[in-house]
Symmetry: none
Subunit: 204 residues, 4 copies
Amino acid sequence: MSPRRRDPEATAVSRAQRRAEVLGAAADLFASRGYAATTVREVAEAAGILGGSLYYHFDSKESMADEILSTFLTELWADYDRVIGAGLGPAETFRELIAASFRSIDRHRPAVMLYQKETRHLAENPRFAYLLESWRKFREMWLTVLDKGVMAGVFRADLDTGLVYRFIRDTVWVAASWYRHDGPLPAGEIARQYITMTLDGILA
Amino acid sequence: MSPRRRDPEATAVSRAQRRAEVLGAAADLFASRGYAATTVREVAEAAGILGGSLYYHFDSKESMADEILSTFLTELWADYDRVIGAGLGPAETFRELIAASFRSIDRHRPAVMLYQKETRHLAENPRFAYLLESWRKFREMWLTVLDKGVMAGVFRADLDTGLVYRFIRDTVWVAASWYRHDGPLPAGEIARQYITMTLDGILA
Amino acid sequence: MSPRRRDPEATAVSRAQRRAEVLGAAADLFASRGYAATTVREVAEAAGILGGSLYYHFDSKESMADEILSTFLTELWADYDRVIGAGLGPAETFRELIAASFRSIDRHRPAVMLYQKETRHLAENPRFAYLLESWRKFREMWLTVLDKGVMAGVFRADLDTGLVYRFIRDTVWVAASWYRHDGPLPAGEIARQYITMTLDGILA
Amino acid sequence: MSPRRRDPEATAVSRAQRRAEVLGAAADLFASRGYAATTVREVAEAAGILGGSLYYHFDSKESMADEILSTFLTELWADYDRVIGAGLGPAETFRELIAASFRSIDRHRPAVMLYQKETRHLAENPRFAYLLESWRKFREMWLTVLDKGVMAGVFRADLDTGLVYRFIRDTVWVAASWYRHDGPLPAGEIARQYITMTLDGILA
DNA sequence: CATGAATGAGTGTTCATTCAT
DNA sequence: AATGAATGAACACTCATTCAT
């Protein structure tokens, strides 16, 4: 109706939408079948286009994984940094970090699975060095929280901190592999119960 | 030197040894790189033979995964069945199951990783239906223990049993991905600390 | 401003200009990278448009090569025919043909390179049969000149005429691959030195 | 018949033979159709195997081109270095270099064509930097010979040495595109006539 | 038992071409 | 006229598998 030949806004949206669709399909497939075991043709089919068309939107299969992961990690670290910067006590920081992790699972489930299952493989490529860097920062963050908590007498002193860190880390991330956004328990409730289990145990 | 052309005993041993070598190499590689991302040539090379020679010992790549997994599961379930059959109370059964799981990680680490990471992928093939069956039995076993524990007032009643089951399951199996037989903590000690964390929590 | 929606003259000019731009870009790229190794997107980009837009102006990549080559050959043969028709003696005809060839290199360098390097490949397609025909005529023309020269005692009789023909042919056309319109020597001077070398040799 | 399972000599020969067959087929196709326009399947078919089988013998298409070119250049430069090292006068050196070049065309025709037609394209890859290096050395060698000849009064002083160099270079290498080992004139005779034409010209 | 050469289906990627806007 | 999204055939290359020796 407008004299303008094309609505650049509309075009931009549609292009971005298509990118998002493709990326969503890729993330789901990479997460469920594994990155290596997923073919670009499967991704394309899931996005309703043909294999070759993928390359209009993305440079490579790698680029898709890259975009999926970096988008997720950027958001995750913004959340973590907020928590860390809030100056809470050890137990409260612990609770908030777990909650933030479950929020990220809720919003980026396939990306979390990719992050957890494919980092080792992908990080052989320098392009994905930031994944290792993220793991390193994550470890540092948790060890700091745990050590402070032990020194403050809030956390038990008879546990190996490194072991507790791995326990927490795995416990949280692996949840991505069974979590469904539309499952019976909302993400917040799952986080609450995980916090209870890890802090207080399951004994009555 | 003997008039017999070959010593069948010796051949048998050597054949079994070679099978074991190949299987060990395959398990290590499947676990660290992923089943799909590991090539049979890599397996062969790690076993000191050439790619084509693998097919004297095994029908296919799949057969190797099959043997690795079924051997592991047979042993695992023998252990679990022993624990379940011992008629212990809920908390003690809990402890023993965790301990048995860590024993299996100690003895079959690569197999555990395969079991945990590749079941979904492999089980698309009917040949690996037993993997799903194992997961089902595992779930049933734990839910029974947990429900009994809750009813006996030993475990907290304010947690979703299904969630606790998944928490325990993931927490234990994922440990295979970082566990080293020759690491600083022996498997028994790791099991003990995991039991403490899960039963009593990490709060002081 | 005129009541006419568009000025057809202006459109025609602009259309022809755009065709020429595209063709120039295509010729340069085909010449420097090779026809097969040049993508239509590269051609389009060099002409300042997008890949798809090329097809408003040309049927196909092939059509561009066709137009480049046939334009060049039409002009080349007009020049050769003029020389041949002038009724000069063998040595003078020789000089004029070389000079005409260098003029064509000066004006159609990329087309000459295409002609020289891609004829075999393109001529598998019947559409480009005229390239082979041109080579044939070229050969006939030179052999006639050389034979006449030998019979007239102007050219040496101890050389294989077919060999001399190829020597001249290659010597001249390959010069297109290093010639620059704005190089230190003008085309006319290069032609003169080539004529000296071929007729008199490089010995003092 | 022999008790040895395999004759390692025979195996070695057969393997080398197959490599040579493949390389020969590749060289012929690369030379006639161009490197980019030749598919590995065409090479394989010409060698009597399937596309995938090529990769048992060679890493990549590139590796084939590399081996073809480096083998040729090694031999060529051994010959050139011998000529240059012989301490002959300018005219005699000139003759011997042309003769050596035609010998290389006789023995490595497809490699020469590759060298002449694909250097620019291949040399974008650092792996093929040695091609540019060879062109540079070639240029230096000829300019030295020509300059010495001019200074010694053996070669004409009224020609641009750079132009003479290109004239010689192209004249010789392009001959590879029509030369046939089993053609009417042997390589030595062609070389002789080329030497006559370039040194003395074609005028009687 | 092991080799090594070959197979052929399948993978990520490229690219000339089409066409609705 | 030009765009940009899509197509689909083709490409270089990989890899589980086969088999004569």
